[in-house]
C-alpha cells in the first residue's frame, strides 16, 4: 500500500492533526496577522464548502446532475488559497476547485450548471477574475502563465502596491503535472519571470492512479529545473495553506518571479460520482486520511482558542442547512437551455454556416412541432 501520510515532517505545517498549533518558522509573522475573525471565516468557509459538496453529490445521485467531482478532504487547500487571494488576482483552475471558486464570488449555480449539463461554464472570467473550469488536464496552466506575462507587460506587478499588483494563480492536480502543457507553463513562467503561482493540490490520486504512477520525485521540486522554486505545505492545514499561499502571492506580486506550491492533501471521495474508488484503494488508507480531516483539525484549534463555541457551531450548522436548501433549489430551478442557445457563441462575429444551420434546425423543430400538433 502507498504510504501517503508519511512525509508530514517535510511539509510546512501550523496545526498538527490534533489541532495543536505547531511552530511554523518562516510563516509566524504572517500567521500573527490573522485575527480570530479571519480564522473563523476560514473554518466557516470550509464547513460550508463541505456542505455544498455533500449536497451536490446528493443532487447527482438524484439525477439532477450528470456528474459531480467532490472536493471532500481538500477544503483546507482550497479555502487557504482562496482567502489569501486579493480582489485583483486572477485564477485559472480545473474542475474540482469549488472552494477557490466560492472565494472568487462564484455562485453555486455557476458550478452546478457545468455538471448538470446546462453550460460548459458560462460565467464571465473577468467579472470574478476566475476563469472557467478547465477539463482538459493542464491546459489552464498555460493560460495563467500567459495572463501573468500580460501583467508583467502592463506593469501590474512589482509596484510595492498590494492593492494593485496582480498575482495570477493556476490550480491543478498531481496527475496534471505529467502533462506537457504544465511543463511548458513552467518553462514560459521561468523564462519570462512571469508572476504566476503554480498551486498543485497533490490529493494522491489521479482517478485510479496513485501519485507514484506519475513520478518518483517530489512534486514541489518539479519547478526547480525550470527556474520555479517551490515548497510543500500540509494541504489539510488551513492555516499553513493560507500562510504559504499568502507569502507566495506576495512574492509573485512583487515581481520576484513564479513560484510552485504543492499542497499535500487527499481526495477522500471518488474521483467523480461515476468513479468506484474501492476498485483501487484501501479503506484503511481513506481512514488514515479521515483522521487528518482539515475541518476537524481547525475546529479543535478554534475551540481550544475559544474562538468558536457550541452555540456558534449550532448556528453554523443551521446556516449550512439553509445554504444546502438554496443549492438544491438553485439547481432544480436551472432550466434546460433552449436549442437556439447552442448556436449563440461559437463565434463572436456572424458566421454564415452557423446561421444557416441554426435557421434550418429551428425551422425543422417548428415543423416537427406542427406535425405533433396535428
Amino acid at each position: 500500500m502507498t504510504q501517503t501520510v508519511s512525509t508530514e515532517t517535510e511539509m510546512v505545517q501550523a496545526l498538527d492533526a490534533e489541532g495543536n498549533r505547531t511552530p511554523c518558522p518562516e510563516y509566524e509573522d504572517a500567521l500573527s496577522t490573522l485575527s480570530a475573525d479571519d480564522m473563523r471565516r476560514m473554518y466557516e468557509d470550509m464547513v460550508l464548502l463541505r456542505r455544498f459538496d455533500t449536497q451536490a453529490t446528493a443532487l447527482q445521485r438524484q439525477g439532477e446532475l450528470g456528474l459531480w467531482p467532490p472536493s471532500l478532504g481538500q477544503e483546507a487547500a482550497q479555502i487557504g488559497l482562496g482567502q489569501a487571494l486579493r480582489p485583483q488576482d486572477f485564477v485559472f483552475a480545473s474542475y474540482r476547485e469549488h472552494g477557490v471558486a466560492f472565494a472568487r464570488g462564484l455562485q453555486p449555480a455557476d458550478l452546478l450548471g457545468v455538471f448538470r449539463g446546462t453550460s460548459h461554464g458560462g460565467w464571465d472570467p473577468q467579472k470574478h477574475r476566475f476563469h472557467t473550469y478547465a477539463i482538459v488536464i493542464g491546459t489552464q496552466t498555460l493560460h495563467a502563465t500567459g495572463y501573468a506575462m500580460g501583467m508583467n507587460l502592463q506593469g501590474r506587478v512589482g509596484n510595492q502596491n498590494p492593492e494593485r499588483d496582480v498575482a495570477t494563480v493556476t490550480c491543478f492536480g498531481d496527475g496534471a503535472t505529467s502533462q506537457g502543457d504544465v511543463s511548458e507553463a513552467l518553462t514560459f513562467a521561468g523564462a519570462y519571470n512571469a508572476p504566476v503561482l503554480f498551486y498543485c493540490q497533490n490529493n494522491q490520486w489521479a482517478i485510479s492512479e496513485p501519485v507514484h504512477t506519475q513520478t518518483s520525485a517530489d512534486l514541489y521540486r518539479r519547478g526547480e529545473g525550470f527556474g520555479v522554486p517551490g515548497v510543500r505545505v500540509d494541504g489539510n492545514d488551513v492555516l499553513a495553506c493560507w500562510a504559504v499561499a499568502q507569502q507566495a502571492l506576495d512574492r509573485v506580486r512583487s515581481a520576484a518571479g513564479p513560484f510552485f506550491i504543492e499542497a499535500y492533501t487527499y481526495r477522500r471521495g471518488p474521483h467523480t460520482t461515476a468513479d468506484d474508488p474501492t476498485k483501487y484503494r484501501s479503506g484503511a488508507e481513506v481512514e488514515a486520511w479521515e483522521r487528518r480531516d482539515p475541518i476537524l483539525r481547525m475546529q479543535r484549534y478554534l475551540h481550544r482558542e475559544g474562538i468558536i463555541d457550541e452555540a456558534y457551531e449550532t448556528e453554523l450548522e443551521e446556516r449550512g442547512e439553509q445554504f444546502a436548501a438554496e443549492v438544491r433549489e438553485a439547481c432544480k430551478a436551472m432550466p434546460d437551455p433552449a436549442p437556439e442557445e447552442m448556436f449563440s457563441h461559437a463565434y463572436r462575429e456572424p458566421h454564415p454556416l452557423v446561421e444557416e444551420e441554426k435557421e434550418s434546425y429551428l425551422a425543422y423543430l417548428a415543423a416537427l412541432d406542427e406535425e405533433a400538433d396535428r
Binding site: R116, S178, Y280, Y364
Partner: protein
C-alpha cells in the same frame, strides 16, 4: 453464426477481443490511463491486469503525447501496443505524435520499420457527459495518410474490428462508439468471414443510407420506419473509415440512385463530405437527387442538456431520407 456465438455487450466483446489478442500474441500489451486496477473508466480492460500482470496492462502517467510516443518506442522494440485514450477529445495532446510520427515512421524508414500500434478511442456523444467527452474526431485523423481508422456498430463487429486492428502491421485507430458499450448482441468469436470495410445491413431499392459507429443502430430503425412510409432503404454500415469501403457503397448508390450520409461528427469537413465527393466522382450519372448529409452542427459539442438537439437522430435521418425521395 457458429456454435461459438454468445450474447454479450459491446464492452464485453471488446474485453474478450483484447483478451484473445493477448493470449494469442505475447507481444500485445495495453497502455493507458486507469486501465489497470480500475479496468478503464468504461471497464473495457476489466480483469486484464489481474490476469496478464502489470507488465502487459500498464497504467501510464497522465500524458497522451507521452503515451503514444512511448507506444511508438515500444513498437520499435518489438511490441504491439494497444493504447487507450480515455475520451475522444483527450486525444488532441497526442495529435502531433500520431500524425507526424506514428503515421509517418513506416514511410520515413523506407518501409523497414512496422508500427503495429492500435489506439482505442471511445468516441461520440449521447451519454450526458461534460465538455470534451462526446466528440467524434475521426475526420481530422483521416486526412493524414499512414493511419487506418476503424469503428464498429455492434458487439460482433467490435470484437472483429479489434482483432483486425491489433493484427495489422499498420497503425490503426479504433473509434469505439461509447454510447453503444452497453448494447447487447450475438458475438461469434470463431467467425471465419472477415467483415470487410463496409457491409450492407439492410437491402433496399429506393435510397442508400450510409452510417457508422454509434449512429448505425439508429439507422436500423430508420430502415423500419421508412418502410412503413413505403420507402425502401438500403443501409450501408462502414467498419473502416480509412480506407473507405467505396466499392460497395458505389454499387449500392448505383442501384438506388439516392444517398443519405449520417454521422455524429460535424458535417463541415466531416467524413460525409468525402463520401459525397467520392460518390459524385464515381456515380454522378446514377444520382437522381442531391446527396444529403446529416451530421453535427458547426458548433462546439454542446452541454449535455442540449445534445439531443445536436446529435443526428431518428427524426433527422428519416427527414433526410424522405427529403431525397421527394426530389
Amino acid at each position: 453464426m457458429s456454435a461459438e456465438a454468445t450474447t454479450m455487450t459491446m464492452a464485453a466483446a471488446l474485453n474478450a477481443s483484447l483478451r484473445a489478442s493477448m493470449e494469442r500474441d505475447s507481444q500485445v500489451l495495453l497502455m493507458g490511463e486507469d486501465i489497470g486496477k480500475l479496468g478503464g473508466v468504461f471497464r473495457i480492460t476489466e480483469g486484464l491486469q489481474k490476469d496478464f500482470g502489470e507488465h502487459r496492462v500498464i497504467d501510464t502517467p497522465l500524458a497522451e503525447s507521452g503515451i503514444v510516443g512511448t507506444a511508438i518506442g515500444l513498437a520499435v522494440s518489438g511490441y504491439r501496443p494497444v493504447v487507450e485514450i480515455q475520451f475522444d477529445a483527450f486525444v488532441y495532446p497526442a495529435y502531433d505524435q500520431i500524425v507526424t510520427q506514428l503515421a509517418k515512421l513506416h514511410s520515413r524508414t523506407g518501409g523497414t520499420q512496422p508500427l503495429p500500434v492500435t489506439i482505442r478511442i471511445p468516441y461520440g456523444g449521447g451519454i450526458g457527459s461534460p465538455e470534451h467527452h462526446s466528440e467524434s474526431p475521426e475526420a481530422v485523423f483521416g486526412h493524414h495518410a499512414g493511419l487506418r481508422l476503424m469503428t464498429a456498430s455492434d458487439p460482433h463487429s467490435a470484437y472483429w474490428v479489434m482483432q483486425e486492428a491489433i493484427r495489422s502491421d499498420d497503425p490503426v485507430i479504433v473509434f469505439e462508439p461509447k454510447r453503444r458499450y452497453w448494447m447487447r448482441g450475438e458475438v461469434d468469436t470463431e467467425a471465419a468471414e472477415p467483415l470487410g470495410a463496409a457491409r450492407i445491413l439492410a437491402e433496399g431499392t429506393d435510397v442508400t443510407l450510409v452510417t457508422y459507429g454509434p449512429l448505425t443502430p439508429v439507422a436500423q430503425t430508420v430502415v423500419t420506419q421508412a418502410a412503413e412510409l413505403g420507402i425502401s432503404v438500403e443501409l450501408v454500415d462502414l467498419l473502416s473509415l480509412n480506407p473507405l469501403g467505396l466499392d460497395l457503397l458505389e454499387e449500392s448508390v448505383k442501384r438506388t440512385g439516392r444517398l443519405v450520409i449520417g454521422h455524429e461528427a460535424p458535417t463541415f469537413l466531416g467524413m460525409g463530405a468525402e463520401l459525397s465527393a467520392r460518390m459524385v466522382e464515381r456515380a454522378f450519372y446514377h444520382l437522381e437527387a442531391p446527396i444529403a448529409r446529416v451530421g453535427g452542427f458547426h458548433l462546439p459539442y454542446p452541454p449535455s442538456r442540449m445534445e439531443e438537439h445536436y446529435l443526428p437522430d431518428l427524426d433527422r435521418l428519416l427527414d433526410a431520407v424522405e427529403d431525397v425521395m421527394t426530389h
